[in-house]
Subunit: 497 residues, 2 copies
């Protein structure tokens, strides 16, 4: 075997050995069945450590290039043959017909509603994207997270890779319960179910209570990604309009008096998309209305931890003496979304049912990830991270609002959030949203179309900004561009409409 | 401050500092508002490195015990107050009534069907549990897995913690596609959707095609945890009896001729629970029958990689020219279950719809875990692990079957699997399963009751053994005990019936 080994190469020696051997086999210079030198003789010949050769042979065997007998590596082996991939074989099944009507509905929304599509359609490389609710990865506490993983790998062995408790890792549930008690919610780990993000918690709640022709009351506008789930589960929506104080409670009272509703879905803090936070009084009244009609409230606390301006009332769940509130939380908005850890807390009887659905729908969330998150919380890293986040987003939100004050035409209105990431902007009149997007991209800025947040995706006079992903400079520049674009629309560019 | 620091303690110094300070605060020896020494002076006093004190103060601040101003740590602080937990607050909502009938059904099954309950009910500490399908954690490749995590943490930064592709991490899908091509399945990464285990893949398939009064044909007996999902989605089941060759295809033909069916669910390798593997001919005929009726096949390949005796035909999906097979796979059975990585591959149109449902039900699986798994596959560790597994389970299965031959009464019948983990045992007559379990536990062995695997959970004359979790010695001992227990039943102990 003639192997080219280069000691100056940054590639490790064993890796060079592997790559060179594969090259020889692929070129046919080494043939199937041919013997290869023993580890000792090759090591001597090349003047490398024998352990280097052993490691290389081990990997070559694992990759299927070498056969072994009784622990020694002998011959070049024929690798198992792959079949070819034939693209675009069509199916004799019409999947459109094989699927239920609800699947068609969710599939259509999926195809339309995708940020990837938005980006492709509106390609301009230097456009500033202030549409997304994904947290700025530059703020991720990577060092602390790495420390936790290393600790977990060191401490816990195989048990971290077995099936876990269906409700979720108990120490994690304890940590979350403790945090919730700091938010005034009287809860223990027993009433907590860990989910794959708050999104799965929502899916479970809808599957539990809101299927097949039932009615659910939602704020209008509301979180966009709950809408396809409701449709998919054949739930009818009753839209309760948002006003400056939150959901219109007089309207809600009328709706609940008229017809039974499975639950009321609300986002009391920094509502998505409007950014509106309700007062303690509003929360009390909402709770009392629902109590009177014995209707559960689903409280989405996805940004509970983003109270960076202070002065936000405690969750509705904290005054829920009669246990009618189902509370959803997540680490995706203040830490990082890729872990997929959320939770739901409610009356034990309710949690038990949600756990049953969760258990059979995925046998529980990844235990390893939950253990790492537990370590992160235990060490106080999450609290420290929140302080960092609060400092950063106080400034970002101030920058966004100041820039809007300066750069937006006087005909435009917008909300002034008490925290969180989103600002809701109202135009003077309705626009065709595709044209609006195209117009804004010409000015180098991307926002999120208002229609996403209404069940019927009707034309709207709104769009949503998000400050989650961009830093102060980018926010300032993005909103200035937006201001210019809005002025250009305002000045009689009514062909955009 | 009087802090007890012990240099001989294995606990790091900074951690000792933290624990001691908290103790003083909790005891009231340090009061809220009290000043603490500067890092420099405390370091001098204790004779430790100043950085040790800084690290301890930082963590104490993160934990909420110290206030800081302009980066220096000043005073003991009142920690935010938790509300108390009041257990057993009852809810004014009747969750039983608030939930749909299907939720009641899945909840009841959940409460009954839980290994925890089984263990508690049948507590005998030294009982050998040959009921579970969880892989023996003593076989986990922990060293290799740690190596992969370290590599991933070193290589990939924040991107591994962002939202990922809804279909799953592309390099992982490529690796899986490559493996499937080695199993004769012509597929690219485009036709693969990553799921939280094969269980979620099954849930998605049922949600897509099998809801609300539709019919699905299943093998009888079949995988226990698909049954509650079918019930939950109001799917009617048509049971196709298993015979020694697999699903009774004459029976299937009759069923399909009589009424439309949404899909046929089958486990061709080492069927759960029977352990039966179908022949190539059986697979061809099943495919042709379904083709004729244009009925999709859901092929559960959950133990595709556990062909440790060799000689198992390729998957049905490998001869699926017309693309009617939806194939499910997982790493939970040959590697470790705690990662929660499975996949589904099918016609692109079908995958697109499944992706839509997955996207809105949990926004995609954890990216970090997927990246680590990709590294594990790339390095050839998975193939190496399979070889190890095959060696171990060849011996375990041989031991199980040999011991049964020797120790079981001649009236008992059982299957002789060509791989996988489960053996299906038939008794001479039906038994009351609770009494049977109690009887077996007296002899120190636990098996899985046969009724779990039938939709109506009827009394059955069967039980399932699994060799997944116990080593050869334990299998030998467990099955010997089982033999004694069966002889004791046989010898006129008919009160058990």
């Amino acid at each position: 075997m003639f192997l080219n080994i280069d000691r100056k190469d940054s590639k490790p020696l064993y890796q060079q050995l592997i790559d060179e051997t594969i090259k020889l086999i692929d070129q046919g210079a080494l043939e199937v069945g041919e013997s290869i030198p023993s580890t000792r003789s090759l090591a001597n010949k090349l003047g490398v450590n024998r352990s280097t050769v052993i490691r290389a042979y081990e990997e070559l065997q694992a990759l299927g290039y070498l056969s072994s007998k009784q622990g020694s590596y002998h011959r070049v082996q024929r690798r198992k043959k792959e079949v070819e991939y034939t693209a675009d074989r069509s199916s004799v099944i019409s999947w459109e017909k094989a699927c239920s009507a609800d699947t068609k509905a969710i599939h259509q929304i999926f195809l339309r509603y995708s940020p990837e599509r938005l980006k492709n359609d509106l390609s301009r490389e230097d456009a500033i994207n202030i549409s997304e609710l994904d947290l700025d990865p530059r703020l991720y506490p990577m060092t602390e997270f790495r420390r936790c993983i290393n600790q977990v790998l060191h401490d816990s062995g195989a048990s971290s890779l077995q099936y876990g408790d269906h409700k979720g890792h108990i120490p994690l549930r304890r940590q979350i319960a403790k945090r919730l008690r700091l938010h005034g919610i009287s809860v223990s780990e027993k009433e907590i179910l860990i989910t794959s993000g708050a999104q799965q918690a929502m899916d479970l709640v809808i599957r539990m209570m809101g299927r097949n022709g039932k009615r659910v009351a939602i704020e209008s506008p509301t979180y966009a990604a709950i809408l396809p789930l409701l449709k998919f589960n054949r739930v009818k929506t009753r839209e309760i309009p948002m006003n400056a104080e939150g959901m219109d409670l007089d309207f809600l009272e009328k709706v609940l008096a008229e017809e039974p509703v499975s639950f009321v879905y609300t986002i009391p803090n920094f509502q998505n998309p409007t950014g509106i936070t309700t007062s303690h009084r509003h929360r009390e009244r909402l709770l009392n209305i629902c109590l009177k009609h014995r209707v559960p409230i689903v409280e989405d606390g996805f940004e509970e931890d983003m109270k960076y301006f202070g002065k936000v009332p405690l969750p509705i769940k904290s005054i829920d003496e009669k246990n009618i509130v189902i509370y959803l939380g997540t680490f995706s908005k203040a830490l990082f979304p890729g872990l997929r850890i959320g939770w739901v807390t409610a009356d034990l009887e309710c949690i038990s049912r949600l756990t049953a659905i969760k258990r059979f729908s995925d046998l529980g969330s990844s235990k390893l990830v939950q253990i790492v998150m537990t370590e992160f919380l235990k060490r106080g890293y999450y609290d420290r991270q929140l302080k960092r986040m609060h400092r950063a987003f106080r400034k970002r939100m101030q920058m966004a609002l100041q820039t809007m004050d300066v750069c937006f035409p006087p005909t435009i209105q917008w909300t002034r959030p008490a925290g969180g990431y989103t600002i809701w902007v109202k135009l003077l009149r309705q626009w065709d949203e595709e044209r609006l997007q195209t117009h804004l991209v010409k000015f180098g800025v991307i926002v999120s179309p208002g229609s996403y947040y209404f069940p019927d995706r009707k034309r709207s006079a709104y769009f949503r900004l998000s400050i989650a992903k961009q830093n102060e400079e980018e926010i300032k520049e993005g909103i200035s561009r937006l201001g210019k674009a809005l002025y250009a629309m305002d000045k009689g560019n009514s062909h955009v409409a």
